[in-house]
């Protein structure tokens, strides 16, 4: 009757339309990421050879912080007028909602990355010495890792008293291995010193494990109370 892909598509379209009308998430996220880039380039002299080594870390930390801004927004929208309750009383599957939200966030964060990467390249004069095409894998897998966990923990943290603060507190410890993998893979490719293969595989495993885990538990979180 109500096919899960149909619900997912409808929710995704609805989210994109809402975002297109308000542009809340994407604007605040973009500006925030811009600020982070500028502040980082003050803090670490971008021309120094040493800073190129840490550029991978800077890029991902900037994206992580910016993604948190967007992730908090996704569920805030559902809380206004308690629209989430309307979803919860309907027979639609919880996982359809989760997948729609993850896909939506994946699109937002990818747009952000596409816009911010040129800035980093310019500021830090980046040039990949290793195989540059691997960066694409790292970006896709890394973004998915951030977004899957982020969406899940954002759904968890909206149920707590101090919503906005709770998300990073839950998200960051669990994301440590993924973040380490993203940073190390990016640095390996940029410097060309090591092979990034292990890290890409690790990221892929992380994605599979946590996508499965989140899908398994999301219904409990959504209908928990």
């Amino acid at each position: 009757m109500n096919s899960p892909p149909g619900v997912t598509r409808a929710t995704l379209v609805k989210d994109l339309r809402l975002e297109w009308r308000s542009k809340d998430a994407i604007n605040s996220m973009l500006f925030f990421a811009l600020l982070v880039v500028v502040i980082f380039s003050f803090s670490f002299d971008p021309t120094a050879e040493e800073s190129r080594r840490i550029a991978g870390g800077l890029v991902w930390v900037a994206f992580l912080f910016a993604a948190v801004v967007a992730l908090n927004q996704t569920w805030a929208r559902e809380l206004r007028n308690q629209v989430l309750d309307a979803y919860r009383v309907s027979p639609a599957r919880a996982n359809s909602l989760f997948l729609a939200k993850v896909t939506g966030n994946f699109i937002f964060v990818s747009v952000l990355e596409a816009l911010m990467t040129p800035l980093f390249v310019v500021f830090y004069n980046l040039r990949a010495i290793g195989p540059a095409y691997q960066l694409l894998f790292v970006a896709v897998l890394g973004t998915w890792a951030l977004v899957v966990n982020g969406t899940f923990f954002a759904a968890m943290s909206i149920r707590t008293r101090s919503r906005e603060i709770m998300l990073p507190l839950l998200l960051f410890p669990i994301t440590i291995p993924a973040l380490l993998a993203m940073v190390e893979a990016t640095s390996s490719i940029l410097t060309g010193e090591f092979s990034a293969r292990f890290w890409i595989v690790l990221l892929a495993v992380y994605d599979v494990v946590f996508t499965t885990g989140c899908l398994l538990f999301f219904e409990i979180v959504l209908h928990g109370e």
């Binding site: 009757m1 109500n2 096919s3 149909g6 619900v7 409808a10 929710t11 609805k14 339309r17 809402l18 009308r21 308000s22 929208r77 206004r80 007028n81 308690q82 629209v83 309750d85 309307a86 979803y87 919860r88 009383v89 309907s90 027979p91 639609a92 209908h223 109370e225």
Partner: protein, 222 residues
């Protein structure tokens, strides 16, 4: 419909930390009737409705709706209208309903339009719901609850901040819905509006049902 109650709750307790909103509610509601649930603020009316809608699990006690104890199984037959509108402010009424229809597996626009017309609104109105008047918003909210043609309607304060004329109109509509065989539970402060249409008045106080009367008795019941 059978004679067995469509909703039966037994010893329902709902505790929020150091506060109990429901303190042992036992009641049954029969099919095809309109119940008005009355009481002061904090008497537990809204919590009871949320528990019945499957939004809040009870701390203790048992519930059976349409014979099912797992409310997820019967949620397709429930319509729930909350105090907040449960609508997206940025979208028009039709866009809202089209989205919620998908959640119930309803694909055609005709159903959405029919529901909007049944609450006396214009389906072609492009105004986002956020700019509706309170009365329009409540009616659109009712339309959302009616979308899946539910057998049981749970309505939380449908008349709040609605002008008298629209409120009367809505009360009349509820009577028609009841006559078409739906079971309706209405939580409200304005019991007088339902004087004509309600079959039974259920008074709650401090998390318990204190009395049930067929006739509307404004002061005596308190």
């Amino acid at each position: 419909m059978t004679d067995s109650p469509i909703i039966a709750v037994n010893g329902l307790v709902k505790q929020f930390g150091r506060f109990a909103a429901l303190r042992g509610v036992t009641a049954s509601f029969e099919a095809g009737r309109l119940y008005a649930i009355l009481g002061d603020n904090g008497a537990g009316k809204t919590t009871l409705l949320r528990v019945l809608a499957g939004l809040t699990p009870a701390t203790r006690g048992s519930i059976a709706v349409l014979g099912a104890t797992n409310l997820r199984e019967v949620c397709a037959h429930l319509g729930y209208m909350a105090h907040p509108s449960l609508l997206y402010d940025e979208m028009s009424g039709m866009e809202n309903l089209r989205y919620f229809a998908r959640l119930y597996g309803i694909q055609d626009d005709a159903r959405c339009q029919a529901v909007i017309r049944s609450v006396n609104l214009d389906p072609s109105l492009a105004l986002p719901v956020g700019q509706y008047s309170q009365g329009m918003r409540q009616r659109m909210s009712l339309a959302r609850a009616l979308l899946n043609d539910p057998r049981i309607l749970l309505l939380d304060e449908p008349f709040s901040n609605v002008d008298v004329r629209s409120a009367r109109e809505m009360a009349g509509l509820l009577g028609q819905l009841r006559d078409s065989g739906k079971t309706i539970l209405v939580v409200t402060h304005q019991a007088a509006l339902l004087r004509e249409v309600a079959d039974e008045f259920v008074w709650m106080e401090a998390g318990q049902i204190v009395s049930r009367t067929r006739e509307f008795q404004p002061e005596e019941a308190k």
